[in-house]
Amino acid sequence: MKNIRIHLLAAIFLVMLFSVQAHAKWWIFGSSNEEVSIGFMYINNISYDESGPKVLLYKDALQDGMVVINGKASVRKGKIGGVRVSVNNREKWEDAKFSDNGAFEFRFSPENEKVYILFVEIMDTAGKTNDVEATRKEVTISGQNSTANIRETLDRMIEAYQNEDPNRFMSYVSEDFAGDSSNLDRAVRKDFSAFDNISIRYSLNNIASGAKGRVFASLNYNRSVTSARDSKSYTDRGMTEFVFQSGGTKVYSMKNPLIFGLSDAANVATGTVTGATNQKVLVVNSKGDSSLVTFQEAVKGNWGEEAGSSEAGSFILNSCSPGPGCLIQQGFIFEDNKVVSDWTGDINLEFALMFLHAGVSKLDLGVKDIASVKSVPGSGYTPGSFKIDTSIGHCYAFKLASGKYAVFEIVSWTDLGGSNSTASFKYKYQPDGSGNF
């Protein structure tokens, strides 16, 4: 069934792509009634319509120090006769480059701390023009660096988040948001269900401006919220990172630990900060319950979810060298909690080597108490045997042939002489298929 859905979606996508050849304007579902109109227009890659009547641009974020206005105009009859732009409230007009198909571009090098009043006029060969008044835009060029812009954007995002206003919050999120803006939109709405009295303070650690108005920001935050579920107050602090687009006005990506969209951190965050300590951070599970967990647990995800209860216990395996009196090399089947002697176990001991059944793979979690293993990774598992005599105290995670997970801790291994050995283990097995224990 899932393959049918995938193929159906892929087919729709491909049909739409290739229909370009069939009908060049397949994506236009309507047309303007005006004689001369502007189909779309951008100012430094920001939608002219959506940027509002006033735009603040930061000089250091301008590509080659230029303001660029580009777009596409259309006329009902005839051809485009000219495109011109005024940057000084219609006192003087300058011609823009344009082509027969209506595409146009105008560039100018602005001065710092100056306000430009822009108008764009499109004229057809019959002398008719667009609604010039509707193109009025006030553009201010700031000589400050991107830090001020980032602070302003973050302040507004935090204000919208604290006021639990999802629409205003999402207006600062790019449509290209790496974790998908739909995921973030739903996640912040769930945050607002989970939290009340949200308070976030932050302090910038690092700002770096890149090409095309992209800005990287690293910040420290302090946060306190009241859980709407248990009415308890939760406070945490940490360091996180953002990438902004459009000169710092729209968020492109966010990393763990998140300050926004905690309710779906696994989908919203794309990456993890490298400098995070293992202090406790705030998380929300799918029920809307809040809790504080260590940063590493938070990054692994699925903390506090309603995982089916895992099975746990201990077992001992013996291995005798084949011969008179001993023909056993014991193994263990996690699902059945059963020691077997016929090499049908998920794991099978032969002296100091642990052999894995076909389809079973393992991951060494290092030296740790099995009680501290709350979840195991979903990838990184390898097949093949491994030595246990040199790994006492290690925990191993297993991905079983059924796709389910188990974990064991090697408690002891004893060489009984004559190639005979005995080993004891603690284990956990999760029958619900998740990696949570």
Partner: protein, 539 residues
Amino acid sequence: MQDKEIAELLKLYRAFAVTLIFIFVISYGMPVFAADEIHFSNELSVSSNNRSGAGENASSLPEGVYTLNVLGINGSGEINQYTYSYNLGIKATDDRTNDPKSFSLTNLQGKFSNRVHTLTLGDTFEFFSQYSLSTALKGASYRFFDEAKRTPEMTLIYGVAYPRWDNIWHEPKTRSLERQVYGGRFKYEFASAFTAGVSVVASDDSKRINSSDALIKNIMYELDAEYKPIPGLTLNAEAALNETDESPGAGAAGSTYNGNAVKFEAVGDGGPSRVSLEFERVSPDFMTVTGAATPDREKFKAKWKYKFNRDIAITSGLLWYRDNLEDNKAYTTNSYKPEIAVAVKKLFGRQYSAAEITYKFDSRDGGGTSTSDHITNFNYRDRFGVFDSDTNLGCIFYDEEKQIRDGQEYTYNTSLTSRHTAGRFILKPSVYAGGWTLNDELSNSTDMIYEYSLGLGADIPDLRITSNIKFGQNKLQKDIGDDLGKLFGNLSIYIRPAFLSGLNQGMIFLRAFVNDFDYTTRSRNFRESSITAGLNIQI
């Protein structure tokens, strides 16, 4: 004063001295080469925080008086045919909740370019592509591109992906895993409508902080292209492969794996419509440490914005994704997120009215569990006489098969704002009232939150004063658990006095707030308050 504190102070003073020398060199040294520009900005603020009550530990506010100073310097100019720009940011504070360090460098960047050769030093942010490199480094980059000759664009980069500058000198209080990154990108515009690029980015982690920190050695090969077959239509594609060695923790056995990711995107922007379609497939073993991707995901996304006329716009979208691409999990989870929104201006012929209704569906199924959340919201803005109003009504229906979450949630709020001129004063009163109700069918309980607030903004334009005061109450009433009542108030005043006019946008500000939390269980009660005064100057 203890030796440790004295050493800390000496360190702070030494760092200040080094900074002042640096500023002096930049301020007086660089302009020697040309008549260039330099801007300083500095914000100094002092906060006094107070908290009290039996439950005061629940406050995130540190008790006491703290200072914060944020200094920024940026400049630009020309030396012969090269333009240069630089910026420097420094933060000093004694508030450990603000920063673990008393003194820190927030940004340091120098850029030199003759429009063909561009060298960036310090904070370097080269965005190669989503998968390969979309993070900043502390290091250097070099870019060659001659736009006039339409040459290929070539970028080389080397640096360390540290979040802070003090990670460079291994400051114990802000330790970070060391991630060295180096790579290159080659991009060429084969035709005016077709551009392609190739990137290779390698990263190498070392110096884990926690024994369970994973160390990753990664090489990413990436190819991307953009094609504009006709005006308004843009096709983008990106493909990437990784070779990864991962050590999941100290003493743990490492593993080697390869993964891949592909993405296709079509954006049609013309007339009243904007349509975007996107397909992405990221394999379970795809690993990017300098880019952005979610492994084990196949995704399809579509969005259509249609401007019916000047007053009516429709936005619709669909996001679908699934995991378990290689059938190595016990089950596959599918997520569906369709949505539609209709926005109407000048409703009922009212000039200032604007209404928007949105419906979003959020569904996930897999492993015997399925969730279906329906999110509906209605927003209406209008002007009634001298009042501007903004009203929201929303409801969310939660439904989860395994009885993890089942209930309805309603939000309702409205605000009225106004603006009046009285002599030299501009007064902006506001009132807000709203609530939230959750019916939890699993616990058969109902929780409610009410909030109301009153605000007054007062501006005196000729004295360049803007101010705002707001106070109100927020009440959480729970069927099960503690009720909470919170009284709050906040005040802000910003003044740009005449004596600071020589400092461009010099400003004095005062901000204060108080929150009083009153729980059913009195031992949890507390009050927190803070007052901050500051000076912001820009030269």
